[in-house]
């Protein structure tokens, strides 16, 4: 489904701030896999996502998505098959547009046979309302309200719905529950799990929560210093406790541990 082949990315090359964020990284992801990714700050997790999504282009190496070489395909084209959620719950929806308009915007882009001048009809509005009710947040009764009035948790849940309205080939979650209060975080994570499982979506999730890293998904990667330094799946992962993972993280990601202890809770 997704393959990174010897990908590297250096920021500010040739200056004093030069930083090699991704070092000769290779990764193969099968269809339907749900991978959780942990790593210290600056390990290259988000950079890897940006390379996959096309917000950044790799200096060397290749990116394949669904068997197709997308290394130089621009971001907005790749976005057709990639859904993305960020840490900032405000980033994925347009605050000045109503809930209905946000849904319509995404719906009209994925609807087959729609043209630039298509509008959402009455039946389709009802369909979107139904989809929205699946979030069980009562948002379906607030369709005409601007999204700016929603809470962070509600906006992130709506973003999740928008990103999966049309089942994406790949879903990238970049700490998408980290900025939410515990109750909202749990709710959004539950929704994520349900939607991903139900649709068999291939999914990559960055998290700082070790419990979440083991609880969700089918495979876990530990990243450090621009590389993947551990790749856990199957029995090995199943038998692992949060303590085991923390220990493994300390051994593999090594020197940054003192700082990370604060972050990994």
């Amino acid at each position: 489904m997704l393959e990174l082949k010897n990908v590297s990315k250096t920021f500010f090359p040739g200056t004093a701030d030069e930083k090699q964020a991704i070092k000769d990284l290779s990764l193969k992801v099968d269809k339907g896999e749900f991978i959780t990714i942990i790593g210290s700050n600056g390990a290259g997790k988000s950079t890897m996502f940006q390379l996959i999504a096309g917000s950044l282009l790799a200096d060397t190496g290749r990116v394949f998505l669904g068997g197709e070489d997308v290394t130089f395909v621009p971001e907005h084209i790749r976005s057709r098959s990639i859904g993305r959620l960020f840490q900032d719950p405000l980033s994925g929806t347009a605050p000045g547009l109503t809930i209905e308009e946000n849904l319509a915007l995404v719906y009209l882009h994925i609807k087959k046979g729609s043209s630039a001048f298509s509008r959402v009809g009455k039946e389709e509005r009802e369909l979107l309302r139904e989809r929205l009710s699946l979030l069980q947040m009562g948002l379906e009764d607030r369709m005409k309200q601007p999204v700016g009035l929603l809470s962070g948790g509600q906006r992130q849940a709506l973003t999740l719905l928008l990103a999966t309205l049309d089942v994406p080939k790949l879903l990238l979650l970049d700490e998408h529950t980290a900025a939410l209060d515990p109750a909202s975080a749990e709710k959004v994570m539950q929704l994520t799990d349900d939607i991903v499982k139900e649709n068999g979506i291939t999914c990559l999730m960055i998290t700082h929560n070790l419990y979440q890293a083991l609880e969700a998904g089918t495979r876990t990667l530990i990243m450090s210093d621009g590389r993947i330094c551990a790749d856990l799946s199957g029995e090995e992962r199943k038998n692992m406790s949060v303590d085991d993972l923390q220990k493994l993280f300390r051994e593999t990601a090594g020197k940054n541990y003192a700082v990370d202890r604060m972050l990994l809770t």
Binding site: H76, I77, S79, R84, G92, F117
Partner: protein
């Protein structure tokens, strides 16, 4: 008196497309596109020159196409060439001065005293005295109606999202360069439409007739928002027309009563616009100052 009201209404409707255009570029796309002044004159120049050549209706259409081209150019300078939007507008504006002179046959003004305009055509068709006003009202209503429907379409919603949350748009399958290009093209077409209507209405175009049009347009937009609020798109569009008409009434009032010398009106307009745009910031600063004073009082 009735003549004054009529003129105010006519000019209000005639300049309304500029306010609608600015609503699209400044409010919806969040781009301060300063090519408005030159674009307005281009519309007027094309319109009057072609009307003088005997094609008043075609003149309006062609003027709008020229305006769209200007908007498209301004957008390309910003998106493809990475020129900051304010600078891009100024560059286009400066270049247009020469283009406008060229369109006007290297003269600084052209008039339409002998030729037909859409207004004289209408009068001949038997519409009578109300024809000017209804024609100009239609000139304001058509862009408004178009925008009202357009902004609910896929491309319209994409344009709104581009101005509302660029981060979201970049992570989605919308190409922001494209939405900006389309948005500014429409905005340019509306501005030129206004120039085209006003040019034929006044039977003349002057190379400097666009000076300050952008600021007046913003003033109209702000007046409309103050009266009707800016909650919904439909209200804002109606507000732009209403603001444009109200501005002309204020203008007529000043002209009639002489409470401010007529030469001072542009200064007054810029003061109003600056104050209106600065108001939210000033309010916030004042609130903070008041709170600080209160907290200090507590400590002492």
């Amino acid at each position: 008196m009735i003549r004054i009201i009529q003129t105010a209404l006519e000019l209000g409707f005639g300049y309304a497309p500029v306010a609608i255009a600015l609503f699209l570029s400044y409010r919806i796309l969040d781009i301060a596109d300063l090519s408005t002044d030159g674009c307005f004159v281009l519309g007027a120049a094309v319109s009057v020159s072609l009307a003088a050549a005997g094609h008043p209706l075609l003149a309006i259409v062609l003027a709008m196409l020229c305006g769209a081209a200007v908007g498209c150019l301004s957008a390309e300078l910003q998106t493809y060439f990475g020129i900051p939007s304010i600078l891009a507008g100024i560059i286009v504006n400066t270049g247009l001065y020469t283009v406008n002179l060229l369109v006007m046959g290297w003269r600084s003004n052209v008039n339409l005293i002998k030729g037909e305009s859409i207004f004289t055509m209408f009068q001949k068709a038997g519409a009578g005295a109300v024809s000017d006003i209804s024609l100009l009202a239609a000139g304001a209503a058509l862009p408004a109606l178009f925008l009202h429907f357009f902004l609910a379409t896929r491309i319209g919603l994409s344009i709104r999202a581009t101005g509302d949350n660029p981060i979201m748009v970049r992570a989605s399958s919308i190409d922001p360069s494209r939405t900006i290009r389309i948005g500014l093209s429409i905005s340019g077409a509306f501005t030129a439409l206004s120039g085209a209507l006003i040019g034929q209405y006044q039977k003349a175009v002057d190379i400097n007739s666009g000076t300050g049009v952008v600021v007046i347009g913003l003033a109209c937009l702000i007046i409309g928002e103050t009266v009707l609020g800016k909650r919904s798109v439909t209200k804002s569009i109606i507000g732009a027309i209403l603001g444009s008409v109200l501005y002309r009434f204020i203008y007529a009032f000043v002209l009639y009563t002489q409470i401010v010398p007529v030469q001072g009106l542009k200064l007054l307009t810029s003061l109003i616009v600056a104050a209106a745009i600065a108001a939210p910031v000033l309010k916030e600063k004042e609130a903070l100052r008041r709170r600080m004073r209160k907290e200090e009082g507590k400590d002492a």
